[in-house]
Symmetry: C2
């Protein structure tokens, strides 16, 4: 078991696009925020991940590697559509930011996450960092499967 402490932000501009992008596909065997069960495929690797309830930016996380062939079949068992995104890792001031550019029904949404040793650990905001959305459940990947960004008023405002 690990404890995951992450803060999540929107992203502005395009400076982050230079980093190489890796396609992620993921689905949920349970989207209940008390016990999320995620299947994730990244190129030739796959994982089954259980996460407990969020307490602020902190969450218990249990992650197990599984065969990709299993994962492909598990994705077919998942509840709701899959979430697909391109992930880039951008290092800024010594910290690794994960930037997820969502695809499909979530196209137009880009979020950046930083993993921290404690909830109040300091970090230097990169120039492309937008507003924080850590505590907004609409941005949970498990929510984006069933209530994708394209259905939000924010997305319509962009069109």
């Amino acid at each position: 078991m690990g404890i995951e402490i992450e803060r999540k932000f929107l992203v502005v501009g395009d400076a982050w696009r230079a980093a190489p992008a890796v396609p992620y596909a993921q689905g949920y065997l349970n989207r209940d925020k008390q016990r999320t069960v995620r299947v994730r495929v990244v190129q030739q690797q796959a994982w089954l991940t259980v996460k407990g309830a969020n307490a602020g930016a902190t969450r218990a996380e249990f992650e197990y590697p599984i065969p990709v062939a299993d994962a492909e079949q598990l994705l077919a068992l998942c509840d709701g559509p899959l979430v697909r995104k391109l992930r880039r890792v951008v290092v800024h001031a010594g910290a690794a930011w994960e930037i997820d550019e969502f695809q499909g029904d979530n196209a137009g949404l880009v979020v950046a996450e930083i993993e921290l040793p404690s909830e109040d650990a300091p970090f230097e905001p990169p120039p492309w960092l937008g507003v924080e959305v850590t505590h907004d459940p609409r941005y949970f990947n498990s929510s984006l499967a069933t209530a994708p960004f394209s259905t939000w008023p924010e997305a319509r405002g962009r069109a």
Copy 2:
């Protein structure tokens, strides 16, 4: 991934009690029969298991060993009370029967399961075999967590 083909029966008499009994504890991260996610601890071993929807006696099953320390924490994340049972394996006419004697709120319920190569594969019924309940969803372990045997009319009839 495996395909699980099992038939399930009630058990009568006591002849099966001579076999050694191993305690099982299990809980569910999802009880949805389309995508059951089970955490199981058996002595010093533990597994995370995903099962798909039943099609007759057949079900897709994906099982992964996990650390017992993880499993203990995952059981605490589970939805509903844990299912506890004593499992015995009894060999009859060359076939291994798994006999589960439930405990706690499911005390009084004893079921026997046989794994088969096909749904219509022949087998020799042991003398302690009762009626078949393969297709009765009340007997799913995932159901017994939230609708235990003690709450059934059958159980009250036995008291």
